[in-house]
């Protein structure tokens, strides 16, 4: 039997728990990262505020864009199993430059998303606890802030432990939390819709241009509403970073990504329709948006809803952390990041060092923000904007990379070219609109991140040129996987 050239006997990402995670766990990772329960409760209000009765159209457009991006991502996910997710994919289409940019975008996106989830959980959880303890009328800012900080620390530690203890445990935890929180939110939304609007609701889906119910809206409103709608989907790609650990990754990872995009799209549409059908039902139903005031809103529904949202954010923190540390792990294995980040836990087989480095930094940002007296809504909103920009940039890069990758391996089809062109155009348009309307704070942040990223690139070009050229390691086929390769061959 001839030796097969180019085949290693050991995968470059050895050390992770290879091929261990069941399809449901992979799916849970993607769903949890999008935090659908939290998004269902808050995003429809944001979208309706700008798009009026055209809000379902904003969500539909966002869902189509997400579908196109998912098509590009799965083109990779069906062909390679990587721990680095999108940036490892991008490396195969755009080379080192694209891969580096995508890696920076992912670290920003997922790192900030962990912070978003922590601050979201502390915001909702703190407000809920404060309200439960002292009643709605009292001034409870200090209680809320204190509880919030405690919640952040507790959640960060829990997420870190789960992430280190293994991907299977993390998957199970996320699955249970997600199922419970989505169920809670759905029940509350439907109940609210039934009790608030017993009569036939105004037809919500009437075409963007014709919308008169909400007062705002129109084609422009629908277009502006696409951005917050899209932000509700970010993270649907995170299953891609479990490629190494998933059992049958080429089947379960693409399926998880597509299913997450589909399921969340349906959930968001349902939530939007319910909110539109029962205007005012959810305003004041959750703790933070109680600016309306005067409403006696300590009802069972609002408490349940808050619980669901906090749980959802908790699962999101864990899921985003899972992906973040695998990106760091993969970068470390390539030699782009410090090698220590590529070390895995001996028994649990997870990137434990990356977890212990990442979690304190992220938790500190949120805690400092809260203690400094910044209102939680501001912290949360700012973090969401930064995270969304990171994700959009990563999605754009992977969409540009997809057709180039397929052309390189000789498997290009017309469908993927169309998907990639449409998705890239949409993402560029959205990015331009966001940056054109961004406040100075966000612009400065983005400029600083770009500067740091570019500086890192220049340093790496000088110091570690070989590592940059080798970016994009993935779980390669090894001799053990190929029938007939010389390992322990059967007797003849």
């Amino acid at each position: 039997m001839a030796r097969i050239p180019g085949l290693r006997s050991r995968s470059p990402v050895a050390g992770l728990h290879r091929r261990a995670l069941r399809p449901l766990g992979v799916f849970a990772q993607s769903v949890a990262t999008t935090a659908p329960a939290g998004a269902m409760a808050s995003t429809p209000l944001l979208v309706i505020a700008v798009a009026g009765s055209g809000a379902p159209w904003s969500f539909a457009i966002a869902a189509v864009v997400v579908g196109l991006v998912a098509a590009c991502i799965t083109a990779f996910a069906r062909r390679m199993a990587a721990a680095g997710g999108l940036y490892s994919f991008t490396a195969k289409g755009l080379g080192a430059g694209g891969a580096y940019a995508c890696a920076v975008a992912m670290i920003v996106g997922y790192g900030v998303l962990v912070a978003v989830a922590l601050s979201g959980a502390s915001w909702y959880g703190g407000a809920l606890l404060a309200r439960l303890l002292s009643g709605p009328a009292a001034d409870t800012g200090a209680v809320a802030a204190g509880t919030g900080v405690v919640l952040v620390v507790a959640l960060a530690i829990t997420a870190a432990v789960c992430a280190i203890r293994g991907v299977r445990l993390a998957g199970r935890v996320m699955l249970v939390i997600e199922a419970a929180s989505i169920g809670l939110i759905l029940v509350v939304l439907v109940a609210l819709a039934l009790t608030t609007a017993p009569t036939v609701p105004a037809p919500p889906v009437g075409g963007g241009a014709g919308g008169g119910v909400g007062g705002v809206g129109g084609v422009g409103g629908v277009a502006v509403g696409v951005l917050p709608a899209l932000a509700a989907f970010i993270g649907f790609d995170s299953a891609a970073s479990l490629g190494v650990e998933a059992r049958r990754p080429f089947a379960s990872v693409p399926r998880a990504i597509l299913a997450t995009a589909g399921v969340t799209a349906v959930l968001y549409l349902v939530a939007t329709l319910v909110v539109l059908a029962a205007p005012g039902a959810t305003e004041g139903a959750t703790s933070p948006p109680t600016g309306v005031g005067g409403v006696d809103d300590l009802s069972w529904a609002s408490v349940l809803m808050d619980l669901g949202i906090v749980a959802s954010f908790g699962a999101c923190a864990l899921a985003a952390l899972n992906t973040l540390v695998r990106v760091l792990f993969s970068l470390a294995r390539e030699g782009v990041a410090p090698a220590v980040l590529g070390r895995t836990h001996r028994r649990h087989l997870t990137p434990a060092v990356a977890v212990t480095v990442a979690v304190p930094v992220i938790a500190a940002v949120v805690v400092v923000g809260t203690l400094a007296g910044v209102p939680p809504a501001t912290v949360f909103g700012a973090l969401v904007s930064v995270a969304t920009l990171g994700f959009l940039a990563a999605y754009l890069l992977v969409c540009v990379a997809a057709p180039r990758f397929l052309a390189r391996i000789g498997e290009l089809t017309r469908g993927i070219v169309v998907a990639a062109v449409l998705a890239s155009a949409a993402l560029v348009a959205i990015l331009v609109v966001v940056l054109a309307n961004a406040g100075t704070g966000l612009l400065i942040t983005v400029a600083a991140l770009v500067a740091v990223g570019a500086g890192g690139w220049l340093v790496l070009r000088v110091r570690r040129a070989a590592a940059l050229r080798g970016m994009g390691v993935y779980d390669e086929t090894t001799t053990a996987d190929v029938l007939g390769a010389p390992t322990s061959a059967p007797p003849r």
């Binding site: 195969k92 049958r248 080429f250 498997e411 086929t477 053990a480 190929v482 029938l483 059967p490 007797p491």
Partner: protein, 242 residues
């Protein structure tokens, strides 16, 4: 997860099988384009079917991501019919005349055990049952010592079964050291087993295993003489099987 099979896409099934056959015939490294051209299946269809076959692990992609090869799972489609040489049967018959326990000769086909010459007087457990629980059997441990622990949890078959992965690792290290795998009452509560590896004379790869099964308490004894007997016969069998 899978929906009921409707079987309404005979062309797709036919094409998938043709692709498998084409990869098998062409050998390692054939590309999707070449397959599509050779079989006159439209490129998009070829790519979809290839991705499906890779997802199910009948095929694998090579590190350049463009080439394909048969995956290990394809071996299940055509298990090698194993013929036991008459000379090997003679050696086994001689061994059985000298011991009172069951003596079995087993071949290792990747991660499966296949009986080459089971003891007719002491019919062994079904080979697939043994293959499923390599951690609890002597023969299975010979195989694990060569590779690593199996995926997933270790099933507790009897109160004595080793289910702690760390403990099993230690046992496997001992197997590598001594060349003998022993289990007492871990698979069947009353039975135990002594197994030695049969290696190809040339490259030393593991090709088969020779096992004695007997009462658990008796297997637990040192049995130095029996082990020597097993080693001698294994050495005699090696050139006949490799």
């Amino acid at each position: 997860m899978t929906s009921p099979i409707s079987g309404r896409q005979p062309q797709a099934v036919r094409s998938a099988l043709l692709i498998l056959e084409e990869v098998a015939a062409a050998g390692v490294g054939i590309t999707a384009k070449e397959i599509s051209t050779a079989l006159r299946i439209p490129p998009a269809t070829t790519y979809r079917l290839l991705n499906l076959l890779v997802a199910e692990e009948y095929l694998v992609r090579l590190p350049d991501l463009g080439g394909f090869a048969l995956g290990r799972r394809s071996a299940n489609l055509a298990p090698l019919p194993l013929a036991t040489p008459t000379a090997a049967r003679t050696v086994m018959r001689r061994l059985r005349e000298r011991v009172r326990w069951g003596a079995h000769l087993v071949a290792f086909d990747r991660h499966r055990l296949q009986f080459l010459d089971p003891d007719p007087d002491h019919p062994p457990t079904d080979a697939d049952e043994l293959s499923r629980h390599p951690h609890a059997t002597g023969l299975g441990r010979l195989l694990l010592a060569e590779h690593d622990l199996p995926d997933g949890p270790l099933a507790r078959l009897t109160p004595h079964t080793t289910v702690d992965p760390e403990r099993l690792r230690t046992l496997l290290a001992e197997v590598r050291e001594s060349g003998v795998a022993r289990q007492c009452g871990e698979f069947h509560a009353a039975l135990g087993c002594l197994a030695v590896a049969i290696r190809a004379p040339g490259d030393g790869r593991l090709v088969a295993g020779l096992a004695l099964t007997g009462p658990a308490d008796r297997v637990a004894a040192p049995n130095a003489e029996l082990i020597d007997l097993l080693r001698d016969h294994a050495a005699e069998l090696a050139p006949l099987l490799a």
